[in-house]
Symmetry: C2
Subunit: 685 residues, 2 copies
């Protein structure tokens, strides 16, 4: 913030919330920015991008920085179709892009890493300044997001950006246990994470359903607990290095004492009941729990962590600690005796004891503890980080007690919520009642990609682009919160994420072709505009899937937050808005007609491809909604208030339409409810 | 062939050439078979595929066979959406699929490996019999190709298949030097190769533009010669094992004495001129050549091969040997002196000397030599295999002289020829004039995917589905040669290849989105129906690309053998065929109208995405062709012969339209020529 010049920026940041998107001018250069920088000032004029584009490194340089610049150049070349010089201009001041970094930053990136940067673009050059290489990485992504084109070619609008993250911990949990995700899936999603400035990969590596890392000391862990699907230590090192290159920390999670069946397949002696154990195929909470009463258990864990600690250089180590079932503890007389001897009245106290022992082991090996809500206990030291799946209240409680916390409640991607819903979840909402000191303990948040229903084929479309909206929540100022603007930028970001490597657009197309056994999948693409997958809970109630269920059905392909949800709502808004009009009405009529046609097309497709039938229930409901929609339009056009019986009947229909249809749900229900309710009110047309 | 029962099959194989595709009956079960088996008999009835599907292994089993069955099961599950039991039925006779293999086959797969199998499907079970695991692998792919579906679900028609390859060497060369292709690209294309029963990966690993394998003895080779893009030895072992699992041999090529610049960057002392050398960025033939007159050269090569030989277990080792420029030899007085001393009159003789020395080194390390045409020389032993890029004549000449040969002329994918054109190229065409003994020396063929204009993004769409047509040429009986049937099966095979892992459909879509910076790429998809990339030669004449050129333009995305080529030809055929009709005429009129609309849509797109302009010249020509087409239709409709001046003008237009349009060409030119010529003849309507 430097006086008058920045007024424009202040207006503009306001403008993100209020400027009409189509008005052009300053909004265009920002159209692809996500997360929105802390401060942006746009000026008229442009820096052209042509063959003469050269990079200069003005100050500190190292291999990580040079690799990052190289990657940026390759993407810029792909985007512009122009080959640029690969070497750096000796006289940096003459370069088109000057990268001026003060130093390497931390040897092992921590929550204290300086990620700030500034990016100043004038008509002669762009100057990217940062204190650390990680700051420069962030700025390079912003630079790529600023590239625009018009008939004259590619360019960057003149701009002045000062940027730094709101939260230090901006993570993504990927569960590779319930379903396996090979290294290439992790890598391409690290690229996508970097594109939206996320900085922690929380790698969920052990579960009832699988143990996913090679242990040299205890090879039976992966030999018996993984179905052959695990990362070699070499691969782990590769992923950690790949992440570091992108300014991303890797925090491993080895869940204990519960969620531990896969350990017990190989080492039943450390469980609280004798076994034998098998890898669990179902999903849920299972009995296998470490025995916290035996010294052998801690010796085993100590040796395990001692070796693994070197593989994961991050200061933090996630112990899980969630959902301890208690069954094995309750049924084991020795454990009951132990509790009595120690004066533990509850299993929570026993778990707290386990965690303290665990914490001592972690400290010995130079690690700080992260765990889920359940670990919160007064006996734990204050440098522990609590990850809250229970909610902001739990998070605030921890912060008041002096614990660091990160929010995950509200960021569960398997809830299949809209980007808007998750975007609205703020780890530190206005009026949170925390003192500045307490608030500072809320380090940020983590998006959770649990593995029950994901495969290498569909994980990208579950992650992206929704995760980008949360990434903005965790990076950008709290005031950047206009949902309409977010969606407009999210569309552009979706392509930016694809450029970075994510397969969220190509993946569903491929799955549709395989499902329908044809290259002509246009009707199914249209279907995916209108239906969504059920939440994990709904889906499992409707039809229980386990680890062996093929995840290749429409329900596995359908897109959370389907585009039709917003598109149809927008049409209804337009119809009911200030500018009344036949145009809006005609759009909706066309839309409803398409739903009827689509049903016929899908019926025809199902003759050769029986699995298209999975859309039947949704299509029946959709065609019913179309009929109700046409009637509502007629009432509105006549300026006639629909009779109460009609309204009641149609609202019942809408309610019915909102329920699961097979393993799908209709995305257009809220829009249709709004339209039908409008017909039941005084007509506005 | 076993008497009367097989008559049906004999008819049917004839039927592949003559049965109308839409007649149903026996043609449906064959619709996805590629390559067509040597003998197929189809009967009425079906074997249902449902939850009860179980596999039994009746005889020999090993880990390779079990992995292959597991992969087949995973694909079958994905295709049918049904989870099958993962274990094998103890009583194999009760299983739905009985796999009965006599033995492992060769420890290192050779050209003598038995790849035959039989697959008998009755209404109770499918029985796959093979002498070797490789034979079983082939049969498992056939089994997957037989899966059909209708409203009742998934099934396999009853059939009796006896199959074995026509040629023992069915290879694909992938050049990873001119452009780098990471391991995952190689792996997914090995999967696709296995899907169409190819059995040799010819891995082109050294070139002027890059040295791509880690050498432990001479690490400077990869350190200085690869830009950091090389396979570690661990990765090579991984790829070789992956290939073996799929019944594919891996033959490495280290090209020498020419095409050797990348070696000389690190080791100029073995070149025929002093250097220094740099990695070559341009494409072509370059001077750097090993010095065949120095013993140090052979000592170096001996040490290099001695170490590498273990990494590549295959009996064969490709020495390249092509396109020795001669410049360095001619300009080096010592080499001239050496030639004189030895009585070599030509550089060919000097190269033959080099090759003999090389052959001795190879033999010492247990390898047999493969090389390009140029190595053919009477002094070489008869177990050498000559790979012919010059043509069948050269191949035949070698066979007559007693050399083994494989054909590559006609199978160069960068020629951007149609599948039909390459399908017509037979290594042993009828009337080849070879004795049975000589013919037996023609081992097969190799498709060549040279690397000048390919990247990990577009290699799949350059390879597939065209390579599948050549795979059929190399596997199936010579008589399987009906082009129309081939194309119909190729469409289904394209999806089968995608199921196996190829990215030839998803890749171009992604590239189009990135080029146009929008998710709405329908107009560009339509464009790709009508235009094709230029051949390598044409493209390089039009605009020279080198290793650093970004390959993200329309020319890099466009599909060889674009679908419109056949579709429009089919419309014209229909119009001019026996059944005259307004329907055919209306189809063509619609088609021409779409070309005009498309031009407008692309113009609009180009406003935001300047690189869409690359289609301009093609679209201008296309719209001109549309106008000529409309006129031709009018003449034909009136039953009037078009005047000669008109015909001459339009044929000139067609000729002009056949020339490169920027870096593209129009796929519909042959169809339009046919239409216009018809209007100039006596009308048939």
């Amino acid at each position: 913030m430097r006086g008058v010049g920045w007024l424009a920026f202040v207006l503009l940041i306001g403008g993100v919330n209020s400027l009409p998107a189509q008005e052009g001018g300053p909004s265009v250069p920002l159209a692809r920015l996500m997360p929105m920088p802390a401060a942006v000032k746009v000026e008229s004029g442009r820096l052209g991008l042509d063959k003469s584009f050269r990079v200069g490194i003005a100050n500190y340089r190292d291999a990580r920085l040079e690799r990052a610049i190289r990657r940026m150049l390759v993407r810029l070349e792909a985007q512009t179709g122009t080959a640029f010089a690969r070497d750096y201009l000796k006289d940096a001041a003459q370069a088109t892009l000057v990268v001026e970094v003060r130093g390497a930053g931390e040897a092992v990136q921590s929550i204290a890493e300086d990620e700030s940067y500034s990016l100043k673009i004038n008509s002669r050059q762009a100057v990217l300044e940062a204190n650390t290489v990680v700051g420069a990485l962030r700025g390079l992504e912003t630079l790529l997001q600023l590239v625009e084109s018009d008939p004259d070619g590619y360019y960057i609008s003149l701009a002045d950006i000062e940027d730094k993250p709101r939260f230090a911990w901006r993570g993504l949990l990927i569960d590779v246990c319930r379903h396996w995700e090979p290294v290439e899936v992790i890598k391409r999603n690290l690229d996508a994470m970097a594109a939206v400035k996320l900085n922690v990969l929380h790698w969920h590596l052990s579960e009832d359903q699988g143990f996913r890392v090679e242990s040299k000391s205890f090879p039976k862990l992966q030999e018996l607990g993984s179905d052959g699907h695990y990362y070699t230590q070499e691969q782990v090192r590769e992923v950690v290095a790949y992440a570091r290159d992108r300014g991303i920390r890797v925090v491993p999670e080895f869940d204990m004492p519960g969620h531990a069946t896969s350990w017990m397949v190989a080492y039943p002696q450390y469980a609280s009941a004798p076994g034998p154990y098998e890898i669990i195929r179902e999903f849920g909470v299972f009995p296998a729990t470490f025995d916290p009463t035996r010294e052998a258990t801690f010796k085993f864990i100590d040796r395990f962590i001692g070796k693994m600690a070197k593989l994961f250089p991050d200061a933090y180590w996630h112990i899980g600690g969630d959902e301890v079932m208690g069954k094995q503890w309750n049924e084991n007389p020795k454990i009951q005796e132990f509790k009595k001897r120690r004066g533990f009245k509850t299993n929570e106290e026993l778990q707290a004891y386990f965690n303290q022992r665990l914490n001592r082991i972690l400290r010995k090996h130079g690690k700080k503890m992260v765990g889920w809500d359940e670990i919160l206990h007064p006996d734990l030291p204050k440098d522990v980080v609590v990850q809250s799946w229970r909610g902001q209240e739990s998070l605030g409680k921890g912060a008041k007690q002096g614990y660091y916390g990160i929010l995950s409640a509200g960021y569960y991607l398997d809830g299949m919520q809209t980007s808007a819903a998750m975007y609205a979840v703020d780890p530190l909402p206005a009026g949170n009642g925390l003192s500045p000191e307490e608030a500072a303990r809320v380090l940020g948040g983590e998006i959770c990609m649990w593995g029950e229903l994901i495969t290498p084929e569909n994980i990208d479309s579950r992650l992206w682009p929704r995760t980008a909206a949360i990434a903005e929540r965790l990076w950008s100022p709290r005031e950047v919160n206009n949902v309409g603007e977010m969606y407009r930028r999210l569309d552009a970001t979706s392509l930016f994420l694809e450029q970075a490597g994510a397969k969220h657009i190509a993946g569903p197309d491929r799955m549709l072709r395989q499902l329908a056994e044809t290259d002509d999948i246009e009707p199914l693409r249209e279907l995916l505009r209108l239906v969504e997958p059920l939440s994990l809970g709904q889906r499992q109630s409707a039809s229980r899937a386990n680890q062996l269920t093929p995840l290749t059905e429409l329900a596995d392909i359908a897109l959370p937050d389907a585009p039709g949800r917003h598109e149809v709502m927008q049409m209804v808004d337009e119809l009911l808005g200030d500018a009344p009009g036949n145009a809006a009405r005609a759009k909706l009529e066309t839309e409803f007609r398409r739903w009827r046609e689509l049903r016929e097309q899908l019926d025809a497709m199902a003759k050769d491809a029986p699995r298209v039938r999975a859309a039947d229930a949704a299509m029946v409901a959709l065609v019913d909604l179309a009929a109700a929609g046409d009637e509502a339009l007629a009432y509105l056009a006549r300026g006639e208030k629909a009779p109460k019986e009609w309204l009641d009947a149609k609202l019942a229909l809408v309610q019915q339409a909102g329920r699961p249809k097979g393993l799908l749900r209709l995305a257009v229900v809220p829009a249709m409810r709004r339209l039908i309710e409008a017909a039941g009110e005084m007509s506005r047309l």
